[in-house]
């Protein structure tokens, strides 16, 4: 088996274990964690490079034949997701160096981030439903621990709500996996896709699969079941918030994309429902954001609304729309994590997270204002930044499918996003600080914070200016999603043996 196939899981796992051995030496754990994330980023880039050459890595763990053993598949989408997760992971651990917390909190933060990355990368490369459940649990327990980090009243209260709702979603997933196995006799995604596409499934299969889609929707924070996200994402440490905002809901979106494109390649009732849900998600998220007046709460509601765009691409199910969804996924992870980083830094300098208690940042830190403008405008879809191209692909796809009302909702959501970014800009950056200039704490920013923010902003600009190659990669990834030969190939080769 190719070592690159399992490297996305092995690298963070090894870093985690080594980190546990080095526990007493916090500085060393910090460096180790940064090194581990850099190595993971190299692995991700190698995977993207391989995938861009149309090589699909696949294999069976332990050599067990395909429908029974655990299959791993890394295609273009998986490779891109691993690379982007590693990027956010690296930015987060570097940003985390600048947190002023007790050393043991810093140490635990780095260890749990590695655990979280291990679970996330595992979920991206597996082609087996039960294995996907296991990776979900790995990333879930790491995320609980990260949420509770610091142990304060707010952290614990947030963890309690977060835990109850996410555990419920995961239990639903486990039940759905069991029922799917009961009705189809297989857990391999490729095998399952062949059965569903041929229509050779028992009547209960659709019900079991719907249950699975529901649990992914909770994880991705889609319209009726998004409540847990804005209720908890403003509670943990800033670096943790940013990591969650960037990656966690996207694992749910990834699972939805993977399963829906595998099982229902043609436009059908499932897509019809997803289309309505996507539009409702976009609108509700952005309207919810308008009602908030704390930086992280506003940004949390925006995550919900942005997830709607990706699901819109999935629901339309044309190659162009899927390419738009993949492009949006890549762009959104970078931009959203960066906005949380900047929000955290701005709040720390201003000494408050309320818009009313913030201000004067433009005069004192024009650099931060510029760095905020890049992801904020990108999120709203202003050319030539990355968000513009992602939205352009989706809008064109929805026009081509002649669902003009979805196009209208996507555009209106973009305008509302711009308005609430404008509100943040006016309140936090332009207006004078309510307690005067002296209230700004210049010492609040650590240089590591700046590095993470600047690097992610640079990436956003780079994607915006070099949109051609990224869009090409995304459309090739969409083509692979529409024709998942790797999944079926695995079954054929191992059966023939």
């Amino acid at each position: 088996m190719n070592i690159l196939l399992v490297a996305p899981v092995l690298v963070p796992l090894a870093t985690l274990l080594l980190g546990i051995l080095l526990r007493p030496r916090v500085r060393l754990v910090e460096r180790l964690s940064i090194g581990g994330c850099s190595l993971l980023l190299l692995v991700g880039l190698a995977l993207v490079w391989q995938a861009a050459g149309d090589v699909v890595l696949s294999g069976q763990l332990g050599g067990w034949p395909a429908p029974y053993g655990i299959s791993l598949v890394i295609d273009r989408l998986s490779a891109a997701m691993v690379a982007i997760s590693a990027t956010i992971g690296l930015a987060t651990v570097v940003y985390g160096v600048g947190h002023d917390c007790p050393p043991q909190v810093i140490r635990d933060f780095h260890l749990f981030v590695q655990g979280l990355l291990c679970g996330i990368c595992g979920a991206f490369i597996t082609a087996d439903i039960f294995n996907l459940y296991v990776w979900f649990e790995v990333l879930l327990i790491a995320s609980f621990a990260l949420m509770a980090l610091g142990g304060g009243k707010r952290h614990l209260a947030g963890t309690m709500s977060y835990m109850a709702l996410n555990l419920f979603a995961t239990l639903l997933f486990l039940l759905a996996a069991g029922l799917v196995y009961g009705t189809t006799g297989t857990l391999n995604m490729g095998d399952l896709a062949l059965l569903v596409r041929a229509g050779e499934t028992a009547p209960g299969t659709t019900a079991a699969l719907s249950l699975m889609l529901l649990s992914f929707s909770i994880k991705a924070a889609l319209f009726p079941v998004f409540g847990w996200l804005p209720a908890t994402y403003h509670v943990p440490l800033m670096a943790v918030s940013a990591l969650f905002a960037g990656l966690l809901t996207k694992v749910g979106v990834y699972a939805l994309i993977r399963l829906v494109t595998l099982l229902w390649p043609e436009y059908g009732p499932a897509h019809e429902i997803l289309l309505w849900i996507a539009c409702a998600t976009m609108l509700v998220g952005v309207l919810g954001a308008a009602a908030q007046s704390e930086v992280r709460r506003i940004l949390s509601f925006h995550i919900v609304s942005q997830v709607g765009y990706m699901i819109l691409g999935l629901a339309l199910a044309t190659p162009l729309a899927l390419a738009g969804a993949v492009f949006y996924l890549i762009h959104h992870i970078l931009v959203k994590a960066n906005l949380f980083f900047i929000g955290g830094l701005a709040a720390r300098i201003c000494g408050s997270e309320h818009l009313a208690g913030m201000g004067g940042l433009y005069a004192r830190h024009p650099g931060l204002a510029l760095l905020f403008a890049i992801p904020a405008l990108s999120l709203a879809g202003i050319p030539p930044l990355s968000g513009f191209w992602a939205k352009l692909l989706l809008v064109r796809a929805s026009l081509e499918s002649s669902v003009w009302w979805a196009t209208a909702i996507a555009l209106v959501t973009g305008i509302f996003t711009l308005l609430s970014m404008n509100k943040l800009w006016n309140e936090a950056f332009l207006k004078a600080h309510p307690q005067g200039e002296a209230a700004l704490r210049t010492a609040g920013a650590h240089r590591c914070n700046w590095w993470s923010i600047a690097a992610l902003a640079l990436l956003t600009v780079a994607i915006g200016l070099g949109a051609g190659p990224v869009a090409e990669y995304a459309s090739a990834a969409a083509a692979q999603l529409g024709d998942p030969q790797a999944y079926f190939h695995l079954l054929r080769t191992t059966e023939a043996r």
Partner: protein, 135 residues
């Protein structure tokens, strides 16, 4: 055999859900445990119950399907881990809040964020003495 398993799973799942909706935090955590066990049992039943057949013994057609057993074993182990975390969280939450109502807990997350003065974000009772200035 199947109908007994189905009734048990349904009953346990209903009980778990009912406890999950309770105001008392202790019951919520126990509800997660009960629901988890109901679903483990459900996964096991979904893999078809095959009388007294042994899983791995070479006894021909009477052997039971070993895959659901492996799946459920994995799920049980993971479930233990999560349940222990939930219990630890419950203990700490009770120490901090005194009362055990879910409303009191969610009210805390609804409160506006406290204003930050010099890294107050991470400062909580009990953690101050270990704080060291970072360069």
């Amino acid at each position: 055999m199947e109908w007994m398993a189905a009734v048990t799973v349904g009953g346990l799942a209903g009980l778990g859900l009912w406890m999950l909706l309770d105001r008392n935090l202790k019951r919520v955590v126990l509800g997660i445990g009960v629901l988890g066990n109901a679903i483990n049992l459900g996964v096991f039943t979904a893999g078809r119950l095959a009388g007294n057949g042994a899983a791995f013994a070479n006894v021909g057609a009477a052997a039971a399907n070993p895959l659901p057993q492996a799946l459920v074993l994995t799920a049980i182990v993971i479930g233990f881990g999560l349940f222990v975390f939930a219990l630890a969280l419950l203990k700490r939450t009770r120490e901090l809040y005194g009362d055990r109502s879910t409303d009191a807990v969610s009210a805390v997350t609804e409160e506006p964020a406290p204003d930050w003065q010099a890294g107050q974000e991470e400062e909580e009772p009990g953690s101050e003495e270990q704080r060291e200035p970072r360069p």
